[in-house]
Amino acid sequence: MRPITAVFYRDYRQRMTNIGFVFWDLFVPLAYLMLFGLGFERMMAGSSVIGDQIPGYTAFLLPGVLAMVTFTVAMNTSWGFFMDKDSGIFYELLTYPITRPQFLIGKIGFSVLLSVIGSLLAIVLGVVALDIGIRWDLLPLTVVIVVAGTASWFFLFSMVAIRLQRMDAFNTVTSAAYILLMFMSPMFYPVVDLRAWFRTVAWLNPMTWQVDLLRVSMLGTGSAATLWLEAAGLVGFALACLALASRALNRAH
């Protein structure tokens, strides 16, 4: 079996031992869309905060929910490094004939599959239950952005999980990241009318790049000039995180 396939198979077998965990990975973003989305839709009825191009708050939130799927799945998969450390298999894995990047890429395989399934479920829910119109012609691009986002976040959190020895420290980091990266981005609200320092932080946040790209591919909104920059930024971020996570694996001793 090829190295990446073997790592993918291992991860699949491991994650499927806990279906509940997989369910929550997919369910939480859908709950956000239905509960948070509908609540704010009602509250913001007639408001111009989200602009004229987007028909309602749930349509505004849907691309953010897809980004949330990628973020949550990646975070929970990288948590698996602590299970490997606890069982002692982590260091043994480093002696197997697999390069560090192959190991990391194999590990995102199952996460990517989950993210794509979660994203498609969110889209179907949005279209069928919330009557959101999306750009079906750009669906392949949406899938590419979901894959790139999952990889980016997984490599980022893997680097943290590999470097940290304690699971509680990892949980603290991910909780902080959850708040900062998701709420300092246009995932839940537009940032254009917020204070300058907040807008600057948001523009430097890779979550902003991912959400903006998803709004283009799903709703057809956004400026072409900044989108290319954001696309390049997201790819660069993914590659940089892969390099840093590989380096962390090389120094994992």
Binding site: M1, A6, V7, S87, G88, Y91, T95
Partner: protein, 313 residues
């Protein structure tokens, strides 16, 4: 000729949590020819596991060179990893998976095809008495069984080098014996085995060449015979009398043995010194209290180890 394992002037310095450098390996060199069982013996913290981690590409050396079958572990880590199957000191098993998945996934991760892995898995499971537990999840099993799975995994592969870091720790004696027999058989087939242990009898029984290591330095190395020559003036004497009493024990103690054990009518003494002089003194004792049985043996590995440890700086 390329050796299976070549270690040249290997040094490793760690930085402790307080920031002070700790020398874990201090210029260790050795070669292991193909098909040999080579033992690294030393107390806790001697540097054995650090050496294994460097050879198995987990950690880089600070300086020096390590190569397996000609592949430099620092420059060609992937090629080096393809040459070996490693059992680390820490118990390692996929706790959430079944025994079957543990064996199969290990083989897949080493590039084995599914059909071959299935056949091997059945054979290895039978050999290691895991056949009835294939569907059990590993986290439900005892530590000893987990260790058995960990060791069984390496026999799923044909990697030319097997590295075992205190691999038999926690195993029951019968399984330990089976693993040792299997390792001997693998060495006869040409596989090279490097093992670290603190169990001296295991090294004595299994290893053709032994390196004694302490505080990151090589203290001695060679075959058991060669190591015995290093402690040529240390020997063990077994004596048997009709009966022992306080006076006799006092006379034996006066010989200043390193160790004296009296058990009923038998006495065991460990000496360091000139054999001829001791035999003369024993002959004097025998005139008053006849010695019924008398045996002189070279030191065991444990005695060599203790003697070298005592002399090390």
């Amino acid at each position: 000729m390329t050796h299976a394992i070549e270690i040249e002037d290997l040094r490793k310095t760690y930085r402790s949590k307080s920031g002070t450098p700790v020398l874990a390996l201090d210029g260790v060199s050795f070669q292991v020819p193909q098909g040999r069982i080579y033992g690294l013996l030393g107390p806790n913290g001697a540097g054995k596991s650090t050496l294994v981690k460097i050879i198995s590409t987990i950690t880089p050396a600070s300086s020096g060179r390590a190569a397996v079958r000609g592949f430099d572990v620092a420059r060609q880590p992937l090629e080096a990893r393809r040459q070996m199957a490693v059992v680390l000191q820490q118990a390692a098993a996929e706790n959430l998976l079944t025994v079957r998945d543990n064996l199969l996934i290990y083989a897949y991760l080493h590039g084995m095809a599914r059909s071959i892995a299935e056949k091997r898995m059945k054979a290895v499971a039978e050999e290691f008495e895991l056949g009835g537990r294939l569907r059990d999840t590993v986290q439900e099993l005892s530590i000893g069984t987990k260790r058995r799975i960990q060791v069984a995994k390496i026999f799923m592969l044909d990697a030319p080098i097997i590295i075992l870091d205190e691999a038999t720790t926690g195993m029951d004696p019968l399984m330990k014996r089976r693993v040792m027999d299997r390792l001997r058989a693998e060495a006869r087939k040409g596989r090279t085995i490097l093992l670290t242990t603190q169990v001296l009898s295991e090294a004595e029984e299994l290893c053709e060449t032994i390196m004694l290591i302490n505080r990151g330095r090589t203290m001695a190395s060679g075959t058991l015979l060669e190591l015995r020559k290093r402690t040529a003036h240390t020997f063990r004497v077994s004596l048997s009398f009709a009966q022992t009493n306080g006076e006799l024990i006092g006379r034996l103690e006066a010989l200043k043995p390193l160790e004296l054990q009296v058990n009923g009518s038998a006495a065991e003494l460990l000496f360091h010194g000139e054999e001829a002089s001791l035999l003369g003194k024993l002959a004097d004792i025998s005139r008053d209290t006849p010695i019924l049985q008398f045996e002189v043996r070279g030191p065991t590995l444990e005695e060599i180890f203790v003697s070298l440890m005592r002399d090390s700086p």
